[in-house]
Symmetry: C2
């Protein structure tokens, strides 16, 4: 892998490639050229080749790419075989939804535990994920390997909680609150899903058809 200066735009396209290749694999397609892949994904063949060239040489002149091989390679690049572990903070409606429906395993993650303040859920399990009290958080983090914390908490506590967790040594956050959480440490990676921002862009585009 080369990956000296991979732009954010390239990184954000990788999961799309990965997804498309999964589908091609499921359809039983064995090989594909950058041209055909581009047509299916509505991007140029040049861009695909340029993107992939950041990470190595996966194709073969005159043949194209082996679907299964390229799928595996992009999986490697994305780290789906790194067996990351995550915990969830906030086992409310959204937390429930993720625990029930989201396939963490397919992205190479294992959700080991969730934490909440509500006595009603503490001590129970949701889809085999045990729910602990927030009081047990520090102890848990100290005795387990935690790569990412999923933040499904009210936005009012998001920033302070993040700081607390960074102190505990966490440096990966998957943020579902509608606030920008920040951290001075550049090693800490924060990926946010801002529902409201997404709906507002849709609102804009509907208004400007």
């Amino acid at each position: 892998m080369k990956k000296e200066n991979v732009s954010d735009a390239v990184i954000r396209r990788l999961p799309r490639y990965y997804r498309q290749l999964s589908e091609l694999k499921a359809r039983g397609q064995v090989r594909i050229s950058s041209h055909s892949l581009g047509q299916e994904m509505n991007i140029t063949a040049s861009q695909i080749r340029q993107d992939l060239s950041c990470f190595g040489e996966f194709g073969q002149q005159g043949y194209g790419y082996n679907v299964e091989e390229l799928h595996t390679e992009i999986g490697h690049i994305l780290g789906v075989d790194n067996h990351h572990h995550l915990i969830m903070i906030g086992a409310g409606n959204l937390g429930h939804a993720l625990m029930h429906n989201f396939h963490f395993q397919e992205a190479g993650f294992t959700l080991d535990a969730a934490f909440d303040v509500a006595p009603a859920v503490i001590g129970t399990q949701i889809n085999n994920v045990p729910i602990f009290s927030m009081d047990e958080l520090d102890g848990y983090v100290h005795s387990h390997s935690v790569d990412v914390v999923v933040l499904t908490v009210p936005q009012s506590v998001a920033q302070s909680l993040t700081e607390r967790l960074v102190h505990l040594g966490i440096h990966g956050f998957w943020n579902f609150t509608n606030v920008e959480i920040t951290c001075p440490n550049p090693d800490v990676r924060i990926e946010s899903i801002h529902f409201a921002d997404s709906l507002l862009t849709l609102s804009y585009r509907i208004a400007n058809r």
Copy 2:
């Protein structure tokens, strides 16, 4: 409003401006310069002025921008006062979570109804939103104004459902399934939230620290 050729990058920054201005307003700040706003948001003053200039002239030399006024203006641009109506298809865990926690009103939307196939929920209400049977969908759409459909369904049905809805005259989709839904009609606006893509980019960045 000018908005001849507003790039996607600009559109995606608008909700962030809107959010930041909300916060400044809540903090009681009356005016702000592009420079200070840029510092708070970690972008350049130039970019802010350039972005805003796509839509009009909202500032004043020597003074900057009035926080409340700019907030309102960006709200207009985003269409938060257009009173859009949406319906949700799929009242499972994720649908529940959105109905309970997401503030549609703050984005200028009203969630009028949800549809599902499960007899257990049909006829009930979730947070004042009535749940109807999928059989009632066509009739509902014909007799009500629906600007956006929220897709919180299994991915297997997403594409065919979208096509059915486009035929019914819907041209706004907020897609939560992890598939790329497509529509040949360029007037149809589709905004997707791909949870898996988001987590995979986080995985990549953790692996490449």
